[in-house]
Symmetry: C2
Subunit: 399 residues, 2 copies
């Protein structure tokens, strides 16, 4: 099927009005607006009315398995530490029927309607839930596969070394096709930092999977963990396949610049969610050093907290805001975290608004990318794999 | 005219479905839903379909005179300090036709459609712009007076003592009916902290106006300024009529608790905007001490920065987020900053969702106040002074 997206301005060249021709899910031509003739009957056209076209948004750090989205309002107890939040979730998740295919589906539909066409989601794996989360998310991913690509990280939320049986479950998840394994605060949660990291890198070496580690550890402890991860990334020749998520340690001023240089050397990327008041990766300094920064929703309305809506353009705004950037360039970098930075972390081929790329486009009313980030306009039209899948915030295709 | 808002749940009692009867701009009755009979022809009814009713939102700290809203996209140079931003604005405002009645009007319409029914806006006053900003905003305020109450602060953005002629302009503004005077970073901008504060309090004593001081000064300098303001508030018997806006100094841990106690003793309120990565007033500790916290938009799409949309429910979300609160109670306190906290700072009489209050209501799809803050739903219906003024994000009355 051919889709012509008429009269849009591409985010990287907002001064030209063009038509984007999509065929078999790819962008096959970009022509001056008004020059693509009305053709055969199997050509669908959508009029962009001069809207700005962003590439499909990439949510590089979600936890859709945890969500209560579309479910009951669950007051949060407001416990203070990561460890207490983990314990709270372990205690309560069964009671609320988590993981829930219904809630995950409702959330994924919202994410698509918000313009997200790629998701990396960290799914809890532990001896309690086993691989039920992985299986639940896999079913949802299969159901929505023509609209969004959902890839999972097998995530040892409750600890890896300190929670016997979890490492074996991670290995089983990888055997089932999960492409990436996660880690979590190797010092504070597992109290065995080098042991956890060695276990992760060994499993990756054996199976070929990638690694995406939650690191809430900050200050000098976080800085030390960064170094340990960089050392192993180089030793295991895993440049480009290791991500540090949250990465609070990078906000520690005394070691910030040295860490950034080490990340660049080792080929380790960062993913942030810019939630709450968490320490932020420095947008401009990371860009200057060539370190890839991705961005994600983190938890959305779950037992960890009540916030979130699966809107990656709003996430980009938070990344810019918390970095106190005001320039167009800064705003564009924040958008990059929610688009090509995420695509890079996910290893997406043929991503972007060029001929030959997968035809994922999001149309918004904004004069340029900077304004799109600063003002977070509604998503007028979402095109995924060359098909209009959402209009004005609602799905328009049957699933 | 009588308006019956049928079938809503009040934010402070979300488990009961009620009808709110408004007459002559006031709430005259609150009855169980379905029990208010269809009456005379001059009764308008609006069906809330079980929506949550919030009181009219209060933007207690805006700068509508500076806005470029609805105007051109102006890339921000990203200068680093408050002093540089002030200088940038002084240089550029004429070129962009600021203050602009057109832009101010467009922004005020957006604020109303977002559910704001009360605004305190700090209007630049200095020998360059004179009272043009005050007059511009006054014209807009007059035009929209049946939909929103806009009160001004005569604001010496460019300095008070260091900018000769400004104090006299403030006094003229008060003579014209402006109820409040502003101050700005008495140490860093004016380099004459006690002189600025004495000048403000003396003018207030002579004229009866209130005081609302911008304080970006942080750390021990900010803490010292807090104390100087508290001392004068007590000496001049101005409890309840002094506000410290932004108030970065309150985030300084070594002196935080002592300052909170002094603010409570002196009757000084705080206003925050929770913009960018600025230091945040501590929501829970202020509440525990009985210090009033209000919240505002700060600048919206102006020469200071590209962000902002005049959405006070989103502002409440940022206040909660930056305070890392997750409990219903914390979310409710954030909403209070954008509602009754602001109303208190503005000295509004008869504010709230009770019989006898001014009939300002905002209907949203949320189960309770906490969910409204966490999810920032669209504003379905805005009622101002007992009249439906906006539906689904657009004004429905002629102005």
């Amino acid at each position: 099927m051919t889709l012509v997206v008429d009269d849009v301005r591409l985010a990287h060249a907002p001064d030209r009005r063009v038509s984007v021709v999509c065929d078999d899910g790819l962008i096959v031509a970009i022509e001056p607006a008004g020059t693509v003739p009305d053709a055969a009957a199997d050509v669908e056209r959508v009029d962009g009315h001069g809207a700005l076209a962003l590439p499909g948004l990439v949510d590089a750090h979600a936890h859709v398995d945890k969500t209560l989205y579309s479910g009951p309002w669950v007051p949060n107890p407001g416990v203070g530490t990561v460890a207490e939040r983990i314990a709270h979730e372990r205690r309560e998740r069964e009671r609320f029927g988590l993981p829930s295919e219904q809630y995950v589906s409702a959330l994924v539909e919202r994410m698509i309607a918000n313009g997200t066409t790629r998701i990396r989601t960290h799914t809890d794996v532990d001896p309690g839930v086993g691989l039920r989360g992985i299986e639940t998310v896999a079913r949802v991913a299969e159901r929505y596969r023509d609209l969004v690509t959902i890839e999972q990280v097998a995530f040892p939320q409750g600890g890896l070394i300190s929670n016997p049986g979890t490492l074996e479950l991670l290995e089983r998840a990888v055997a089932l096709g999960v492409p990436t394994i996660g880690g979590i605060d190797p010092a504070i949660v597992d109290r065995a930092p080098t042991v956890q990291l060695d276990a992760l890198f060994d499993l990756a070496a054996r199976t070929g999977c990638g690694i995406d580690i939650h690191l809430h550890e900050d200050g000098s402890l976080g800085a030390w963990e960064f170094e340990e991860i960089a050392v192993r990334t180089i030793a295991y020749d895993m440049a480009g396949r290791v991500v540090i998520s949250h990465a609070f340690g990078i906000a520690h001023p005394p070691t910030q610049q040295r860490l950034i240089e080490r990340l660049a050397e080792a080929g380790v990327a960062l993913a942030t969610a810019a939630v709450y008041d968490v320490p932020m990766p420095p947008l401009l300094a990371l860009d200057a050093a060539g370190v890839t920064l991705a961005c994600g929703s983190d938890g959305i309305r779950d037992l960890w907290g009540p916030f979130g809506n699966g809107d990656m353009l709003q996430r980009a705004m938070h990344v810019a805001y918390r970095n106190s950037v005001r320039t167009d360039r800064g705003l564009e970098l924040a958008l990059r975290a929610a688009t090509s930075g995420g695509a890079q972390v996910l290893g997406v081929q043929h991503y972007g608004l060029d001929v030959g790329c997968v035809a994922d486009l999001v149309l918004v009313d904004a004069r340029n990318a900077a304004e799109a980030v600063a003002s977070v306009p509604p998503r007028r039209v979402v095109v995924s794999r060359g098909r209009v899948v959402a209009v004005d915030g609602a799905l328009v295709v049957d699933v």
